[in-house]
């Protein structure tokens, strides 16, 4: 039997999803369901003077209208301690889109009608839509109870590195912006709550059903067994569905009050201001280096715009950025610090990569600028500073941040097998002299990020009960298998990947393995799917549970064969006494597991084992990407001619799905580099409140991707897998921006701020021409 791990099998998930038989939350129909709609703030900062609900309450089909004052005892949304966000605004609103009141009606059209009829009287307050405005002298704190708009400030090193920077032969000051982006999963937030006397069942678009269950139970004072959270098919998440939203608690509360199921379906326009945004960091960098490009010291001051209500996950992200500031390089002293600033904008949380892309963008732009300053090739500067494979595991200066097995130089070498760098440089030089030709740019990104989140002490800081994952593997009487796992996928293909792992461990047919996930009533325990932890942590738990089943099955087989356990081996799905023809199949063992009279006395029946996997550390996926761009001199439009990605995610479970993860991540990274940005006007009005304004890329905006792998197994988990979901989004922005800047470098351009839109690039070209 060939190994299933590593095989490019097509997905188990797909037949249902391809025939319209998937089950997303809005597809679920419960008898008597009523629909909730929000009244949202259209102002970014204002005091609420009055809310008149009378007209709305009298409209056809309306069951009620509620404001914060009408729901005494309703717990706040998941929040940073001391900055609890009420589900409905109390006293004032902090950003456009904040929930002010809710309407419930028998039909979603009627609920929307009634929400329009609620009259809210506001007194406008000064709007601080940028960190500059929020930090200005005399700026009033947006959040009541805070002394200023700085929600959190931390220094993560013992030194500010000034001594080393001052002593360095060269020093550069660089300011970088990692703009605010929107995750835009194609399915917005949806939830359906059904509160009955026996407890609450909630169907929700979430990456973390068990975590939600724990929090909702605690919020309402219920025991965990009274709360069942189900994440059925979930239409993308990208980190933003790991946050909590007021509608989860509101639909539950209103279902309790109305004694009917209550459903909420967010519109896309609501989603653009309600779902957490990502990134929104500014970096003030000081770097010291030698004549040959050796990096000597790095200071990074991070300013995060955390929006109108700090998100419990979002506020932790600059810590991850700080930890990863050194990238894949030896830098003797790194001095990161950050401050998170409250502004009158949508809260900022996780978005694919969550803190690591910001670090990787920063250090990769810094390396390119160091090379430009010294007139060196950016690849030479990278090679000079790489942490070498022989130094792995590599302890960074940050406690607990230890890079696992990796080979950064090998990734770059493999990348250059795909890219004829010298020929490109020759072509670039030629095109620079051709006024009718495009400008050619070549950009590189050699990156390392974090995957496989845990371990528990780290995850506790984000409010989770643990950093482990759990799995159960059970053999039925007929030898088919059911897996239950605590990770909850939203496109990653866990059904397929985890069945591949179990097929190998138990040597049973892949087609006879099913996965159950995303339901707290049927899956023993779980944390969720985020931080590239599905395969490295969830998959490792699955592997361990399968090994426990195999171990027990072998004991039964030995009993059946009247042999010593040490003499029995499992080969091609058959237990054999070594060196003999005596054998029993896994199917026969499965039947025997349920026959007490044919087993040793007192033997536990069944083949049903649960295992937890607690990662000893994070894993560190890495790689080398190259982007080749052509810039149209007349329009400033950047066209990607080639995008080549070499990734080291350790063990690859399914090459087809790995390719999909890289493509998707790279696509989001390219879009950040060239197209996407959530903007606000000075008075806090969103410039990207719909998909008309927010430039989500289409098939015409994105290129063909070339992918390859270097496989360095991690020793930090039994699968040897590091995770891959966030690598593309972490690696791509700087590969693209480095290419854009490279294309313009002969004009003296050292930086182009993201997104590198045609307008921005054209202006640079026009300015340089004059």
């Amino acid at each position: 039997m060939g190994s299933m791990v590593g095989a490019a099998v097509v997905r188990k998930e797909d037949p249902a999803l391809l025939t319209g038989r998937g089950t997303y939350v809005d597809d679920i129909r419960l008898s008597g369901t009523v629909h909730m709609a929000y009244v949202r703030s259209y102002l970014a900062h204002a005091r609420i003077l009055s809310i008149d609900t009378a007209e709305a309450a009298a409209m056809p089909g309306v069951l009620g209208v509620w404001t914060h004052d009408d729901l005494p005892g309703l717990p706040p949304n998941r929040s940073v301690p001391g900055m609890e966000r009420p589900c409905l605004a109390t006293g004032k609103v902090h950003f456009v889109g904040e929930c002010v009141a809710v309407v419930v009606a028998t039909d979603r059209y009627l609920a929307a009608d009634a929400a329009e009829a609620v009259l809210v009287e506001y007194e406008e307050l000064p709007v601080m839509a940028t960190v500059e405005a929020a930090l200005a002298e005399g700026a009033a704190p947006i959040l009541d109870g805070l002394p200023s708009n700085v929600a959190l400030e931390q220094v993560l090193s013992a030194t500010d590195a000034e001594e080393e920077l001052a002593a360095a032969p060269h020093r550069l000051s660089i300011r970088l912006k990692n703009q605010r982006c929107a995750a835009v999963p194609m399915e917005p937030t949806v939830c359906l709550s059904d509160w009955q006397s026996s407890g609450l069942t909630m169907y929700a678009t979430t990456q973390t059903p068990h975590h939600m269950r724990n929090e909702i139970a605690a919020s309402f004072g219920l025991s965990q067994q009274e709360v069942r959270v189900i994440a059925p098919d979930v239409g993308g998440g990208f980190g933003a569905k790991a946050s909590s939203y007021p509608e989860f608690l509101l639909t539950a509360e209103l279902s309790k009050r109305l004694r009917r199921p209550v459903k909420y379906v967010e519109t896309r326009s609501e989603n653009m201001t309600s779902m957490v945004h990502g990134r929104a960091q500014w970096h003030e960098v000081e770097v010291g280096f030698d004549d040959d490009g050796t990096l000597l010291a790095l200071r990074v001051r991070i300013t995060q715009d955390c929006g109108g209500w700090p998100d419990a996950t979002g506020i932790g992200l600059p810590t991850l950025t700080s930890f990863m500031a050194g990238g894949c390089y030896h830098i003797p002293v790194i001095a990161p610090s950050f401050r998170s600033v409250v502004t009158n904008t949508t809260p900022v949380g996780s978005y694919r990569g969550a803190g690591r892309p910001e670090a990787s963008f920063m250090i990769e732009r810094v390396v390119d600028q160091v090379a430009a300053e010294l007139g060196l090739d950016p690849l030479d500067v990278r090679r000079r500073n790489f942490v070498q494979p022989g130094e792995m595991p590599f302890a960074t200066q940050f406690e607990g941040i230890v890079y696992d097995e990796a080979d950064f130089p090998a990734c770059l070498d493999k990348l250059l097998e795909h890219v004829d760098y010298e020929a490109l440089r020759t072509e670039q030089a030629g095109l620079r002299g051709d006024p009718d030709g495009p400008l050619l740019g070549i950009g590189f990104s050699t990156f390392v990020e974090m995957g496989g989140f845990g371990p528990t002490p780290l995850f506790e800081q984000f409010g989770y009960v643990g950093g482990w994952e759990s799995a159960n593997v059970r053999l039925n009487v007929d030898g088919s298998a059911v897996i239950k796992v605590g990770t909850s996928p939203h496109g990653q293909g866990h059904q397929t990947a985890f069945a591949q792992i179990v097929a190998d461990e138990l040597q049973i047919d892949f087609e006879r393995i099913t996965l159950i996930h995303g339901d707290t009533a049927t899956v023993q325990e779980g944390i969720g799917t985020m931080g590239s932890r599905g395969v490295p942590v969830g998959g490792s738990a699955v592997m361990k549970a399968a090994i426990k089943v195999r171990t027990k099955a072998l004991r039964i087989a030995a009993h059946m064969l009247e042999a010593d356990e040490n003499d029995v081996e499992l080969v091609d799905g058959v237990f054999t006494v070594k060196g003999t023809a005596q054998s029993v199949t896994m199917g026969e063992v499965a039947v025997r597991a349920f026959k007490p009279h044919l087993l040793p006395e007192g033997f536990d029946l069944g083949l049903d084992e649960t295992a937890f996997h607690e990662p000893t550390n994070l894993s560190y996926p890495s790689g080398a990407h190259c982007c080749v761009v052509e810039i149209d001199r007349g329009t400033g439009k950047v066209r990607i001619r080639r995008y080549v990605a070499v990734d080291d995610c350790g063990t690859v479970i399914n090459p087809l799905m790995a390719k999909g993860q890289i493509h998707g991540g790279v696509a989001q990274g390219i879009a950040q580099a060239l197209m996407e940005e959530v903007t606000y006007s000075g008075d806090g009005q969103p410039g990207a409140g719909t998909l008309v304004d927010y430039t989500l890329p289409s098939a015409l905006d994105l290129p063909h991707y070339e992918t390859d792998h270097v496989v360095t197994r991690t020793s930090f988990n039994p699968l040897g897998a590091k995770g891959l979901g966030e690598s593309g989004a972490t690696a791509a922005p700087q590969a693209v921006v480095n290419a854009v800047v490279d294309a313009l470098s002969h004009l003296g351009v050292r930086d182009v701020e993201m997104p590198c839109t045609p307008q921005k690039v054209w202006r640079i070209l026009a300015e340089k021409a004059s």
Binding site: L17, M186, H663, T690, L691, A699
Partner: protein
């Protein structure tokens, strides 16, 4: 709000329903006809998750009023694999991993099917242009392009879509 009687054939089955004037076709399909394979991903007709075929042409069903579809023939994702076999486009998406979360997929499959009805063997650029009105946040589109190519090489739009376009159902 006034109501109107409509008779609409969806995947070969005609029903008569009384609908509000403002009811969008996508909500008619999802709520009245209980065909939840057609999805809603935006409210500005940008995303294409709601794409279906209406009288032989692909439309975004969020931009069609149900009353405007009176007496029309509609083909949705549920009708593509009418005989239980995946259509070539559906199979192409499966073989080439043209979907991840699956939310945009029904609309994307319908758009690709519509493209293959118009053009038997589109090249990469034509495929990208053909699905430009459908947004996917998971795949980065490259494997969707592969999927459509696969379908073009393995039977094209498929029997149900071809019959729908010919007015045979």
């Amino acid at each position: 709000m006034s109501h109107h009687k409509v008779r609409i054939t969806v995947n070969g089955t005609a029903t008569e329903d009384e609908v509000e004037s403002r009811l969008l076709l996508v909500h008619y399909l999802r709520e009245t006809r209980q065909l939840t394979g057609t999805h809603v991903g935006c409210d500005t007709s940008n995303c294409g998750a709601c794409t279906v075929m209406l009288n032989g042409r692909t439309v975004k069903s969020c931009t069609v009023l149900t009353v405007a579809a009176d007496e029309a023939e509609v083909l949705t994702i549920e009708g593509l694999a009418a005989d239980g076999e995946l259509s070539p486009v559906q199979e192409g998406f499966r073989q080439c991993h043209g979907l991840q979360c699956g939310y945009c997929t029904p609309g994307m499959v319908m758009a690709a099917t519509g493209l293959l009805l118009e053009r038997e063997s589109p090249d990469e650029q034509e495929i990208r242009e053909g699905i430009e009105g459908n947004l996917c946040r998971c795949t980065g589109y490259d494997m969707i392009v592969d999927s459509v190519r696969w379908a073009a090489d393995h039977g094209g739009a498929g029997e149900a879509a071809t019959a729908h376009a010919d007015g045979r159902i």
